[in-house]
């Protein structure tokens, strides 16, 4: 369902999204005098021609904009004949440094899978950022159909039974470990830690199917050398840096799939409704989110057949068809409102495929409920900020329990803050700001109903039109100006990194360490030599400010840490002092 839902959301952006605009407050040109240098080795020898990147901590929106605007997401350097690299022209800040060498793996367990976090100040070069790597193992072979034809563009997965040496490095990829067969059916999986692996083809990773041409038949996961029973798969033993060849897979017959047809009608009038997008999903089954995070394991969970798919668009008679259905229980649904402002929602229809096609499905569309109200900005009455209200696009989506069937609505906010979200299915609805690509800086603080904090999910009844909602948003104009007061002397070459993280419930991103590389929602800076620091463009709210001392530009071993809480108002500055004890620690402490 991910894709269908994703598609719908994206299309909302593509088509319904107004051309939002915002003064992209260009921050003054920063000095770019810092540098990071180090060395990459493979089994102790220089690794030549390896790209090492330094990625700055960035907000998601910034990454998106950089990406869409064609700007590079990172600075990079390539290792020379001695394996040395130097990434220069960096602004002061915190970077994640990582070699992009998919065929190489980390030699020990300790190496960070996302690279090392390095903090540099203006004019400074962080040296000694070294990576000791080893060559990963390789599994290669050929995938064929039962009749001997090459199986082209099939996704091959390798899943470790156990690994004995080396650490999978992970990679920046939406589809990690996307290895496909070529036109001869040949695949080659590389960068494997030593260990024992199960190799398979198939399954239903829908994201992986994005990179392929056309549809694929439903086929059970097939394991080397040609079984659909995982327990009968031949385990492949890969030595450290070794290469296993002829790990072939012979595919069996595709699972016979079936079709379902039906029509979509208006529940009140019985009239057919054209131009609705239809789809199907397995009846009530949770699917995990493909987050794209680099994963420790190389496995992809085996899964049976196609769980969800997109059907045809309804024609003038309201007719649709779904295909590629495997036996079992399914739900058919229809969504309108790709433009985002529809009044209709549909009841999903459950049906069962019992080894034959199903016809006569009827999906009824109802006038949905609506929620309306006003968006207000907290903490500021700055007319420049208020003038940007109409850049906000609100988004209402079904809460988790009925999320299996997509239902969402989006609405523009009027200059006076008013909004109406229509076409909602009864149940719990979560309201959020549509931030994706809109370049607006507001963020949601809370939703109030009749003056009471309603949380983010609002329960609406069928046909109900909830009014009087107040969506409170904040604008990041707060400033923390602080001072780190040191007890003792700062060791030579040490830095003080200050990180401010909002502590409000519901906003706690994840349990990253305070000094971890990618700071999910937090803001960071390096304190100057006298301990002063400033963090700006903060949302109003409670912040926990952590000051950490690191030696030698490295952030894997903090020398000292202290934290204080501070409240940031919408405008104006909040002052804070953090006392940090940097005296050498005695053993009895």
């Amino acid at each position: 369902m991910r894709i269908a839902l994703g598609a719908a959301v994206v299309i909302t952006v593509l088509c319904g999204g107004p051309a939002h605009g915002r003064a992209q407050a260009q921050s003054p040109a920063k000095e770019t005098t810092a540098a990071i240098s180090g060395r990459v080795t493979v089994s102790g020898k220089p690794a030549v021609g390896i790209v090492v990147i330094a990625a700055r901590e960035q907000r998601d929106a910034e990454v998106l904009q950089a990406f869409l605007g064609g700007r590079p997401l990172f600075e990079k350097a390539t290792t020379d004949e001695a394996g040395r690299f130097r990434i220069s022209n960096l602004a002061a800040g915190s970077y994640s440094v990582q070699p992009l060498a998919p065929a190489l793996i980390a030699s020990g367990e300790s190496a960070a899978k996302q690279g090392l976090t390095v903090v540099v100040a203006d004019g400074e070069t962080a040296t000694g950022i070294n990576f000791a790597l080893i060559r990963g193992g390789v599994i290669t072979g050929r995938v064929t159909h039962a009749d001997g034809r090459a199986a082209v563009q099939e996704h091959v997965s390798v899943s470790p039974v156990n690994t004995t040496q080396g650490t999978w490095r992970g990679e920046y990829s939406l589809i990690p470990n996307d290895f496909q067969t070529d036109d001869r059916g040949v695949y080659r999986v590389y960068g494997l830690p030593a260990g024992r692996y199960i190799v398979s083809v198939g399954g239903s990773d829908r994201l992986a199917q994005i990179t392929t041409v056309g549809k694929r038949p439903a086929r059970p996961m097939t394991y080397h050398p040609g079984t659909t029973d995982r327990s009968r798969a031949t385990v492949v033993d890969v030595a450290l840096g070794g290469e296993k060849i002829n790990v072939d897979i012979r595919l069996g017959q595709a699972t016979r799939t079936y079709k379902a047809t039906g029509r979509v009608v208006d529940a009140e009038t019985g009239k057919p409704i054209a131009s609705l997008l239809t789809g199907h999903t397995r009846a009530m089954r949770e699917r995990s989110d493909p987050t794209g995070e680099p994963s420790d394991s190389i496995s992809m969970e085996p899964s049976t057949g196609a769980d969800a798919g997109v059907g045809s668009m309804t024609n003038a008679n309201g007719e649709f068809h779904l295909d590629g259905l495997t036996p079992g229980r399914h739900m058919a649904f229809a969504v309108q409102g790709l433009g985002g402002d529809s009044e209709l929602y549909g009841d999903p229809v459950q049906f069962e495929i019992k080894y034959e096609d199903v016809g006569g499905l009827e999906i009824k569309m109802h006038r949905g409920s609506s929620v309306s109200g006003v968006v207000t900005v907290e903490g500021t009455s700055d007319p420049n900020v208020l003038a940007k209200l109409s850049q906000i696009q609100l988004f209402a989506g079904a809460e988790r329990e009925n999320a299996a069937i997509p239902n969402f609505s989006s609405a523009k906010v009027a200059p006076n803050g008013e909004f109406v979200l229509r076409g909602l299915r009864p149940g719990k609805v979560r309201i959020s700001l549509f931030e994706f690509l809109t370049q607006q800086d507001f963020s949601l603080i809370r939703v109030e109903h009749d003056g009471v904090d309603a949380g983010r999910a609002i329960t609406i009844a069928a046909g109900e039109h909830v009014t009087g909602l107040r969506v409170v948003v904040g604008y990041p104009s707060g400033i923390i100006r602080g001072h780190v007061k040191l007890e003792g002397d700062l060791p030579k070459g040490a830095h003080i990194i200050v990180i401010a993280r909002r502590t409000e419930a519901g906003d706690a991103d994840d349990d990253d360490d305070d000094y971890s590389g990618f700071l999910g929602g937090a803001r960071s800076t390096v304190a100057d030599s006298s301990g002063g620091f400033t963090l700006d463009k903060l949302m109003p709210g409670e912040y926990r400010v952590t000051a950490t001392v690191f030696q030698k530009a490295r952030t894997d071993t903090p020398l000292a840490m202290a934290r204080e809480n501070v409240t940031v108002a919408g405008t104006g500055e909040s002052a804070i002092t953090i006392v940090l004890d940097v005296r050498p620690k005695s053993n009895d402490r």
Partner: protein
């Protein structure tokens, strides 16, 4: 960063899916109506569209994806993604059956990894209606393979590799692009790559740079691509790939050069972002699409900014288009940009709405049945099966348009055309300003186009005949009220061209022409007709107005033969028409075709023109 990247990629992937057909938005699909249509029973149960997909040797191709796209979809705002078109997988015998589709014409295409669809003959279309059977031939594509290394010979792992088709083997501009289908190809741990499924043609191959829709961070996305063997685009060695050929050893020595940025802004953006605003970078001259970029909104209303990174030195055309929910397509005239050792900023494009031509097809009453036969009503004579094309007078315009560039991203040969609904109403959309001729494909041999007229400037006047003058469309104009009159009882002429002199063979390429013999018709382009003469001398012309015609044949010049667009009727151009008229007057061969008369055994004796003095 990973979350953002995941978002980007998901988005990207969906866009891939969408642009594989077309980057339009889902607003309204073509509305096949349930009301009675001419010559077809109302509410007739649609039959499935069936067929087979085979390879070049006629062997069945199982597990091929077959997709039926309603004809005229581009102009009538189809669905957002090919996933929502009727589609099916072939069985072991290569057979497919597409059901659940209603009447009308469909373009049927197959997708098979490693294969490409056989190019249809010029002028022939892949349009079919439910109930018909379709044979789709797929041809195994060629391969380009090699290794990417650093200057010191180290393998470069995980770098994107692309093959850009510059032109066909015949030297014509390549219509399709491999931009999206090879978007995800990367080198393996030995630096090896293998690009497959390639159509024959002349290619350049490059490593590095940003994938149009990246799935992974490679580390090389900011570099300008290195072209085979080891240089910039200017110094790239073009590779000629013949059908089914495997070009091995195409090794690229990578040169790490930071690419340049071409950036600017687009004004006049009224659609949404992304799908509503795409910027295309294409090679100039040549026109091959290099990459596409999405518009990032800026503060100004209706404005977006774009940037192409990793651009090599060279000359480019930057064009833009946007599609609105309302169905209006806007395009910006391409700007020529020269990159030479520095970023190029301030490339500003202005989108202006494209125009449209709409009107009605009116079917005149059938004449009384002719005892000689040939005018019996066909089974599927529906005006919904007519295809209407607007052919621009200046055909280069179409090729330069941003819309065209975007469309060439699709594996489908999308044409800007229209199919009438059951009431005969049609709209041809996404047209630049200029003069157009409406061309029709008629489903029935009984029909001929009697007249094309537009509403008069004031009510007292007669409807101006636009068949003769062409339709002048101002930039962004939505011209309405056209009347396309179809008469019944058309004649046809088939036969053979033979040499009038013994032992003298026919020239290589001949075209048989008909020009009106009645003096009052000589300026009516609808009364001119032509047919290419096959190698065996045969020709066929249908959908002729009854009347008297002068018959003559002309040698097709090489220039004309190379003209990609064979659809054009020569008589439309006033100069050519005058020329044909003079040649017609010079001809003493006259044929009279009565209503419904279908001559099948006509013999035209060709005499070579006198040698030049």
């Amino acid at each position: 960063m990973m979350k953002a990247l995941a978002l980007i990629s998901t988005l990207a992937a969906v866009i891939v899916a969408a642009t594989r057909i077309q980057p339009t938005c889902a607003a309204q699909s073509r509305q096949p109506t349930a009301s009675a249509s001419v010559g077809r029973a109302p509410q007739q149960r649609a039959k499935p569209l069936t067929g087979r997909v085979v390879n070049e040797g006629g062997q069945p191709l199982p597990e091929a994806t077959v997709i039926a796209v309603p004809a005229g979809t581009w102009s009538s705002q189809g669905q957002a993604s090919y996933l929502s078109y009727p589609s099916s997988l072939t069985d072991d015998q290569g057979r497919f059956s597409l059901d659940g589709i209603t009447g009308g014409l469909y373009e049927v295409t197959a997708l098979v990894p490693g294969y490409y669809a056989e190019r249809e003959a010029a002028g022939q279309r892949r349009l079919f209606r439910p109930g018909e059977s379709v044979l789709i031939r797929m041809i195994r594509g060629g391969v380009i393979a090699g290794v990417v290394t650093t200057s010191s010979g180290e393998a470069i792992v995980g770098i994107h590799v692309r093959a850009i088709r510059l032109r066909t083997l015949e030297g014509k501009p390549a219509l399709s692009t491999t931009l999206l289908t090879t978007s995800y190809l990367r080198t393996d741990d030995r630096g090896a790559y293998r690009i497959y499924g390639l159509e024959p043609g002349v290619y350049v191959v490059s490593a590095g740079g940003k994938a149009v829709l990246p799935i992974s961070v490679t580390g090389y996305e900011g570099d300008s691509p290195t072209y085979y063997p080891s240089g910039t685009r200017d110094t790239a060695t073009p590779l000629t790939l013949h059908a089914g050929q495997e070009l091995m050893g195409i090794d690229i020595r990578y040169r790490e050069n930071r690419g340049y940025v071409i950036s600017g802004k687009v004004t006049g953006v009224t659609g949404g972002i992304l799908g509503g605003g795409l910027v295309v970078l294409s090679q100039a001259p040549g026109g091959s699409v290099e990459t596409i970029s999405f518009l990032v909104p800026t503060e100004g209303a209706g404005e977006g900014q774009f940037a192409f990174s990793a651009v090599s030195d060279g000359e480019y055309d930057v064009s833009a288009m946007s599609v609105e929910n309302s169905g209006t397509t806007s395009a910006a005239a391409p700007k020529r940009v020269k990159v030479k050792g520095a970023d190029v900023t301030g490339v500003d494009l202005a989108l202006t709405p494209l125009g449209s031509i709409s009107g009605r097809v009116v079917l005149e009453p059938a004449p009384p049945a002719d005892p000689k036969g040939g005018c019996k009503a066909g089974a599927s004579e529906s005006i919904e099966d007519i295809v209407i094309l607007a052919q621009p007078e200046d055909r280069t315009k179409r090729k330069l348009a941003g819309a065209k560039s975007i469309m060439s991203l699709s594996p489908f040969s999308l044409h800007i055309d229209a199919v009438p609904d059951s009431n005969g109403s049609f709209t041809v959309r996404a047209l630049h300003g200029g003069r157009y001729q409406l061309e029709t494909r008629l489903p029935s041999e009984n029909w001929w186009v009697a007249s094309i007229s537009r509403p008069p400037a004031n009510a007292s006047q007669r409807r101006p005949d636009v068949a003769r003058s062409g339709i002048s469309l101002k930039s962004g104009e939505k011209l309405e009220g056209l009347n396309l009159a179809i008469a019944q009882g058309a004649a046809g002429l088939r036969g053979k061209v033979v040499s009038s002199q013994e032992n003298v063979a026919l020239p290589g390429k001949l075209r048989l022409h008909l020009a009106p013999a009645e003096p009052e018709r000589v300026d009516d382009p609808l009364r001119y007709a032509e047919s290419l003469v096959e190698a065996d001398g045969s020709f066929a012309i249908s959908n002729l107005a009854p009347g008297r015609y002068k018959v003559f044949a002309r040698i097709v010049s090489d220039d004309e033969a190379n003209d990609e667009d064979e659809l054009r009727a020569a008589a439309w151009d006033a100069t050519t028409r005058a020329l044909l008229r003079i040649e017609g007057e010079a001809s003493d061969v006259v044929v009279e075709l009565k209503r419904c008369e279908r001559v099948t055994d006509y013999v035209y004796r060709y005499r070579a023109p006198a040698a030049k003095r």
